[in-house]
């Protein structure tokens, strides 16, 4: 089965985010005066194959632990869904 994982990597709370602060002040200077805080992060869309949902979930967990997020600084969360379109395309004769 094909799967799509959308992995969000965010800085842990308390870790200074000068990029987010700069974006925040840019928004305020554009007139969005109510912007209180911006935290920047990363979004990664990963297309991969796994036998079932449990195996896919385990694979994403491992990817995050080993490479995608640095636990010293970051947390990772993700949305995982079956890529039915890709499965259907491969099922075509």
């Amino acid at each position: 089965m094909h799967w799509l994982a959308e992995v969000h990597v965010a800085l842990r709370s308390g870790i200074a985010d000068p990029e987010g602060q700069t974006i925040g002040s840019a928004l305020r200077s554009l007139g969005y005066a109510t912007v209180a805080e911006v935290r920047s992060g990363k979004l990664m869309r990963i297309a991969f194959e796994a036998d079932d949902h449990a195996a896919a979930e385990a694979a994403v967990t491992e990817m995050c632990l080993r490479l995608l997020a640095n636990p010293v600084l970051e947390t990772a969360s993700w949305d995982l869904r079956a890529d039915e379109q890709q499965d259907a395309e491969e099922a075509l004769p």
Binding site: I15, A16, P18, E19, T22, L67, L68, N70, V72, L73
Partner: protein, 248 residues
């Protein structure tokens, strides 16, 4: 006892995007008369060096995070084994970032707080060096040295428990300072926690630092303080009988 007079031999790791390997090799070979070998990151055998250098640059494009991909290069297994056996390792700039990503040193290095790349001479205060530390034995506590920095992601970050532990054990060895050796916010070029510019592992044989000692090894380039790290290493190697035997 037979005195071994062979010159130190350093292995310099080269990743795709590394840029300081030739400067390290130049200092080792031309300035000091040592031997230096440049090893591509796919190597799994270091060739029995006396010390290993992880130089600065942008290994694997610094994609994802600095050092995040480099830590999985095959050569890093050999570097970890070498360091684990007590071998001296220095990681400068990108090399420091790789050492933290590999878990060989604690903490992490993040984007400078002002978001700019900073390339300048920087005063540093040396703290609590001991003869047991491979790269710093020639320094005295409180020495102020000048080394170039050249980085966009040098802000040292760790949780307060880790920072306290590093300080308690004398593992913070270099801090950004002003010319008088005062560690102030103004002297901090990147927002590093507690002004930290360099740390060592618990054994004292692995040093990570953001500054570039290899760029301060000849008067022509503006300073020679970087040479003192190499001299420290040379004396440390001479004082270590096991290493001397291995070099026979």
């Amino acid at each position: 006892m037979t005195l071994v007079t062979r010159h130190p031999r350093v292995a310099v790791a080269v990743f795709p995007g590394t840029w300081s390997e030739r400067d390290f090799a130049h200092v080792a070979r031309t300035v000091l008369g040592w031997e230096a070998s440049l090893l591509w990151h796919t190597e799994t055998d270091l060739g029995g060096p006396d010390a290993v250098v992880l130089p600065g640059g942008f290994a694997h494009g610094d994609h994802l995070r600095t050092g995040a991909v480099a830590r999985f290069s095959p050569i890093m297994r050999a570097v970890e084994a070498f360091a684990g056996a007590g071998g001296p390792v220095i990681g400068s700039c990108n090399g420091f970032q790789i050492l933290t990503e590999a878990g060989m040193l604690p903490g992490a290095l993040m984007r400078n707080d002002h978001l700019e790349f900073r390339c300048d001479w920087q005063a540093l205060r040396v703290e609590r060096p001991s003869a047991a530390e491979a790269w710093l034995g020639d320094f005295a506590d409180g020495d102020v040295i000048r080394l170039p920095i050249s980085h966009g992601e040098g802000r040292y970050v760790a949780d307060s428990v880790t920072l306290d532990e590093l300080e308690r054990n004398g593992r913070v060895v270099l801090r950004y300072a002003d010319a008088d050796g005062q560690v102030t916010a103004d002297a901090n070029p990147n927002g590093s926690e507690r002004g930290i510019a360099g740390i060592v592992n618990a054994g004292g044989n692995v040093l990570g630092l953001m500054p570039h000692p290899e760029r301060a090894a000849e008067p022509e380039v503006g300073g020679v303080d970087g040479l003192r790290l190499f001299r420290s290493l040379e004396r440390w190697l001479q004082a270590r009988p096991a290493a001397a035997e291995r070099r026979l």
